[in-house]
């Protein structure tokens, strides 16, 4: 009993815990997450890369120098042109230019070879007026980020029909990076709502949902995908068919998130601060919205970020197999489909560039997601 009775009166106001760190003490959860995320250099860099990729995808009509379907029959399988500032005579010009190609056909193998023709010099103009297009399908304009007055510029080469690879990759980025977002968003909404109900109320609803999830998760995706692409109306345009498939797949894809949300609800339901909120008279709705959801929202955001690359990879691999998007549509998977044979890889390796884009994007998403996940719980010790 000594330790209690000998205790001097506690100070009415406890000693100051240091005002210099006031910013930390009043920092909200999101600010703490941002501070922690900022320290994760790789994730920040990946975030910037993603920002660039999405900017390119959003403004692809403006950035790409050509219409992605425009053919140049005289220039098929042309290798990438190098951007130059110094010409063959050693003259420096601030305006970059490219050299044209001299095409030769081997009379025996009929193989085309291109050699640089220094007599054809095509200076590049910025904010150049080139082929007309409709920006976002709305505004008619012919303004491009760059282009050449006469001649041609193919910084990433051309494909077998002489189409500009750079333009095709940029247009492909738009579809590849966006088509699955709707599917992911749909799985997100379904996952949170169904998982939330299942975890909060439990009982028979929970049992039914859990069995349903087990059934859905045992359906193999690729045969299902094949069946679906055969079942959707054949007169639909390609992109719509694919869009339909991703939506149907997201009706299956919510299961993983639902399980995470359910288990978070189950563990949070018995947390002291949730009990405290109940004893403070908070309604059910208020408990869920103010106390439970904020404490796992950051996890959900991180897991969505990690779900997007798998959807990009899914599009790429299925289109590559001929099950996803098909030829008139342009996506990275479709572009890769054209690089399917050994001859292409041996003779025109630049056709594999869309694969590099997939690689960079997926990697960036994964690093970004990892950083977010690590930062997601600023209270973890």
């Amino acid at each position: 009993m000594d330790r209690l009775s000998n205790n001097p009166d506690y100070e009415l106001l406890e000693e100051d815990i240091g005002t210099e760190d006031e910013a930390v003490y009043v920092a909200s959860q999101w600010r703490l997450i941002w501070w922690k995320f900022r320290r994760h250099r790789l994730a920040v860099a990946s975030g910037i890369v993603l920002l660039i990729i999405y900017t390119l995808a959003i403004f692809c009509e403006f950035i790409s120098p050509y219409d992605p379907t425009a053919r140049n029959v005289m220039l098929t399988h042309a290798p990438p042109q190098r951007l130059r500032f110094v010409d063959s005579e050693g003259n420096f010009s601030l305006r970059p230019f490219v050299y044209g190609y001299k095409r030769e056909i081997d009379p025996n193998t009929l193989r085309r070879t291109y050699s640089i023709d220094t007599s054809q010099k095509y200076p590049i103009y910025f904010l150049h007026r080139g082929t007309p297009y409709k920006f976002w399908g709305v505004w008619e304009t012919d303004l491009h980020l760059f282009g050449v007055q006469d001649g041609y510029v193919h910084l990433l080469g051309t494909d077998r029909l002489g189409r500009d690879m750079l333009s095709r990759i940029l247009y492909g980025a738009r579809i590849s990076t966006s088509i699955g977002l709707v599917g992911v968003a749909l799985s997100f909404v379904l996952g949170v709502i169904i998982g939330g109900f299942s975890g909060y109320f439990g009982g028979w609803f929970d049992s039914i949902v859990q069995r349903l999830i087990e059934i859905l998760r045992s359906i193999p995706t690729i045969p299902l995908w094949m069946g679906l692409s055969a079942a959707l109306p054949p007169h639909w345009p390609q992109v719509r068919v694919y869009f339909g498939i991703t939506i149907i797949l997201s009706l299956i894809g919510w299961t993983q998130l639902a399980r995470v949300v359910r288990s978070r609800f189950l563990s949070l339901r018995d947390e002291d601060f949730v009990t405290a909120a109940r004893l403070c008279g908070a309604s059910r709705f208020r408990i869920v919205v103010r106390h439970m959801v904020p404490s796992f929202l950051s996890y959900i955001i991180a897991s969505i970020t990690l779900a997007i690359p798998s959807m990009i990879l899914g599009e790429t691999s299925l289109s590559f197999l001929g099950l996803g998007l098909q030829a008139p549509a342009i996506s990275w998977g479709v572009l890769l489909q054209e690089a399917q044979n050994v001859r292409t890889i041996a003779l025109s390796p630049w056709l594999l560039l869309p694969g590099v884009m997939v690689f960079i994007t997926v990697l960036a998403f994964n690093f970004f997601g990892d950083g977010l996940r690590d930062a997601a719980d600023p209270y973890a010790r």
């Binding site: 209690l4 205790n7 009166d9 406890e14 100051d16 003490y25 909120a277 004893l279 908070a282 208020r286």
Partner: protein, 341 residues
Amino acid sequence: MKRESVLLEVKDLVKHFPIRKGFLKRVVGQVKAVDGVSFTIGEGEVLGLVGESGCGKTTVGRCILRAIDPTSGQLVFYSNNGLVDLAALSEDQLRPLRAEMQMIFQDPYSSLNPRMTTKDIIAEPLVCIAGMKKKEAEERVAELMRLVGLRPEYMRRYPHAFSGGQRQRIGIARALALNPRLIVCDESVSALDVSIQAQILNLLQDLQEQLHLTYLFISHDLSVVEHISDRVAVMYVGKLVEVADTEELYSQPRHPYTERLLAAVPVADPKVKRGRHQLKGEVADPANPPPGCLFHPRCSYAQDICAAKQPELQNVGKDGKEHFVACHFARELELQGVQAG
């Protein structure tokens, strides 16, 4: 102890947790966490509830506040608006009553939502029950923070900025927000450092006197309970085994279990020899309790009757005092207590 009027009457409170097994979740047994507990708490009284871990103390506290729903029994609460049976009310009917009864939790880390500011945490009952506006609530929060010894300027800080003791003060401020009459302190100082424990304990005691609060003080620490309680109830495997005034219970325990608990209290003197009366064995399994007196397998005074018949809680107090004991030999045994400190 002065008992003016009864505030809460617990009658035959029972809480069984079903044990479910297998694919169909069939009930294969019951954990009898609380098995027929009755007691009263007077207005302005501090009732200590002690026992080993797993004996159902916390369950009693949570049932009273309806944080969990009791299996059966009555909880007669003399609220400001008359008599109510808390056990029979729905969640919506309970909400206005929550202003009058609150809880102070054990763990100051998990009981505060880390994603809310101190102001929002303390204002929660003000907003949810009293429906206060922001400005009004903020003034009350500042007042409460001063009351529990925190600077009101800190109200915009998040819980992560505070130490354990300060967090517990926030929890206390939240509990006091709507001037409750009954506060259940569930191991409220157990998770704190010893030095902080004393501070918080003194704060709780001061507040009790100042605001004329009634505490149900749940703890496994007998010295803490002795310090703060007017009356002490001892629990063993879901049942009360002894209830008496603090001084009497500590100096003259009548139940062998109480004696053993008291003997186990550490003494701050290495020369003091430990008595023979150490508590041996494990707490009985509440899912499969022994027949007869629940304590008989561990009791050194046990005789044949103890294994056969369960003793009732009876008043053995002298000179009109109340001293309830559930033991067949309550009147015969000469048990050792401790000198009041």
